[in-house]
């Protein structure tokens, strides 16, 4: 991939989409398939997510008491090369900025969504020039907000994932290997990814070899 250079000759780093951080944290290969192979497959869960997001994806701001609510807000962080869109950002009267990420499924503490919303918090810090140490994930399943503390450990996870995704995008175009575990059963991209087939290398090799062998005892019926 060509890296655009600035006037000073300093190479600009590839921008990493916030959503890719979540995908990468869930499964590096899923992220690779989306970014490198331009493949995305919908299933019931992703369609449910899309429908849920229709409510929050209309840009604009709405007031609710002392809280100003912004929807579909573009955010970025030039230092880390992050860019994306926040479902909801709340601006409280006391000056607090709170990103709220909407998820249709259940909330898994410490899961990929935490990384995504923490990255949003870091972008908002950069844009509003003030600390954002708390973020929230709204789960469509239990219709509840779950508070995420944006601490150092989580920030490190964000930066590690950012570097890994950037590496995938700009240098290393090889797809990460499939995880081939229980995650695949719930993954909408499993048919495209073919985790089982890729994991069974020996069986595949054998089948390639057998292509030129004919076993006639099976074919001719007695």
């Amino acid at each position: 991939m060509t890296v655009a250079s600035r006037q000073g000759g300093e190479a600009e780093q590839a921008q990493v989409p916030l959503s890719a951080l979540e995908h990468y944290t869930y499964c590096p290969r899923q992220c690779g398939l989306i970014l490198l192979e331009d493949s995305f497959a919908d299933d019931a869960a992703t369609v449910r997510g899309t429908l849920l997001h229709q409510r929050v994806d209309t840009p604009g701001n709405r007031g609710r008491g002392t809280v100003r609510t912004l929807h579909a807000l573009p955010v970025w962080h030039d230092g880390h090369g992050l860019t994306g869109i926040c479902d909801t950002v709340e601006l409280h009267a006391d000056g607090t900025v709170l990103p709220v990420e909407h998820k249709s499924g259940r909330y898994h503490p410490g899961g990929p969504a935490d990384v995504q919303v923490a990255a949003q918090a870091m972008c908002l810090e950069y844009m509003f020039k003030q600390p954002v140490t708390t973020a929230a994930i709204y789960s469509g399943t239990d219709r509840r907000r779950h508070i995420v503390t944006v601490n150092e450990a989580l920030r490190t996870r964000v930066l590690d994932a950012t570097n890994a995704v950037r590496n995938l995008l700009s240098h290393n175009h090889t797809l990460p290997p499939p995880v081939a575990d229980s995650r695949c059963r719930r993954c909408s991209m499993a048919t495209d990814c073919m985790p089982k087939l890729l994991a069974g290398t020996h069986r595949y090799q054998q089948a390639l070899h057998d292509l030129y062998l004919l076993d006639d005892t099976q074919d001719i019926d007695e």
Binding site: T191, D192, M194, K196, L197, A207, L211, D219
Partner: protein, 344 residues
């Protein structure tokens, strides 16, 4: 949406008008009153033959939903296809070009494609031989032996030209045996060998038409996976020739197309009355014949087949997509070779 096998709408009544009405497709047949609509989400593709009108709204909606629209000539020749915004899987296409330039890699893929085709041709002959009368059985088994020898020779083929030569000879042996598989009590003029451009007997006419249906299926599978249908490994490059679609068709021709056609004749679904004999000798399907064949094809696509390496049953209509994915994984260096689908 395309991973699920939905219905394909085939329209061949000349002068039909198709338009978009909300989320449904409105069909207006000439000279036939009445309101006909189909929900769009039940359709995974639209194939039109000859003079059919599609409204711009309908075409753009299909492009948006990645629901392909395929245009065929009235007689069933492939003309064009609309797939919506092109898949921008440039890394896969780049890998496809790189593999094409690598003689060894190209030979490996071409050889396996042909091995798959010959294995499947042989499978058909052996299956048919089981139920055939002794004299016919001998013919079929003899041809199957020739094909076995071809597979043996193929494993040592060291150039694409040699692979092509083996493929050609195997195809001649195979088609020479096909008449012995056709049911005897038939009112059809004899089928002796494969011919096309134009076909001169009903069996060849039905084969040609079915190859058109199969080609649009395979071409679509390649587009869906993000491969370039025009850059083939076995078939040479020529402008306007979808060489990779022709490549990937090879392994499916015997089982998905030839066997389908034989079944239609053997079951008397297709009869002499379904064919027009044009002056000069060309033979083509009548509108009724095409309707019969397309209806049966639609059903045939839902029949499932064992996919040995995927370890599951796959509907015929989705086999090309599965194989296109396996090819893509090989081209991206994730699988050590291309493994064709073989019937069992």
């Amino acid at each position: 949406m395309t991973t699920e096998l939905l219905n394909t709408l085939y329209v061949q009544t000349q002068g039909t008008d198709l338009r978009l009405e909300q989320d449904t497709l409105r069909i207006h047949l000439p000279d036939t009153p009445g309101r006909r609509t189909l929900p769009l989400r039940r359709l995974d593709g639209i194939v039109v033959y000859g003079h059919i009108n599609l409204s711009t709204e309908l075409i753009t909606r299909c492009a948006q939903d990645k629901r392909p629209v395929t245009w065929m000539s009235r007689g069933g020749r492939y003309l064009a296809r609309l797939d919506g915004a092109a898949r921008s899987n440039v890394l896969l296409r780049h890998a496809q070009h790189q593999r094409h330039d690598d003689t060894g890699a190209r030979l490996g893929i071409a050889r396996n494609l042909v091995a798959g085709k010959i294995r499947n041709s042989r499978w058909i002959l052996l299956r048919a031989a089981r139920d055939a009368a002794p004299a016919r059985r001998e013919h079929a088994r003899k041809a199957a032996e020739d094909l076995a020898a071809a597979i043996d020779k193929l494993s040592a083929a060291e150039s694409i030209d040699v692979v092509m030569g083996i493929e050609g000879q195997a195809a001649r042996n195979y088609f020479a045996a096909l008449p012995h598989i056709l049911s005897t009590a038939t009112d059809l003029p004899p089928f002796t060998h494969r011919n096309r451009r134009p076909p001169t007997d009903p069996v060849n006419a039905a084969l040609s038409f079915t190859y058109g249906l199969l080609r649009s299926l395979v071409h679509g599978a390649l587009e869906q996976v993000g491969l370039d249908p025009y850059l083939g490994f076995l078939h040479g490059l020529r402008p306007g020739k979808p060489a990779l679609a022709l490549d990937l068709m090879e392994e499916f021709r015997p089982v998905l197309a030839d066997r389908f056609v034989l079944t239609q004749f053997n079951r008397r679904q297709l009869r002499a009355s379904h064919f027009d004999h044009l002056s000069g000798g060309a033979v083509s399907l009548t509108e009724d014949g095409r309707k019969e064949l397309i209806g049966a094809w639609q059903e045939w696509k839902t029949q499932t087949w064992e996919h040995p390496i995927a370890g599951r049953e796959v509907p015929a209509g989705l086999l090309p997509v599965v194989q296109a994915r396996i090819l893509a994984r090989h081209l991206r260096g994730e699988l050590p070779g291309y493994l064709p689908w073989t019937a069992s």
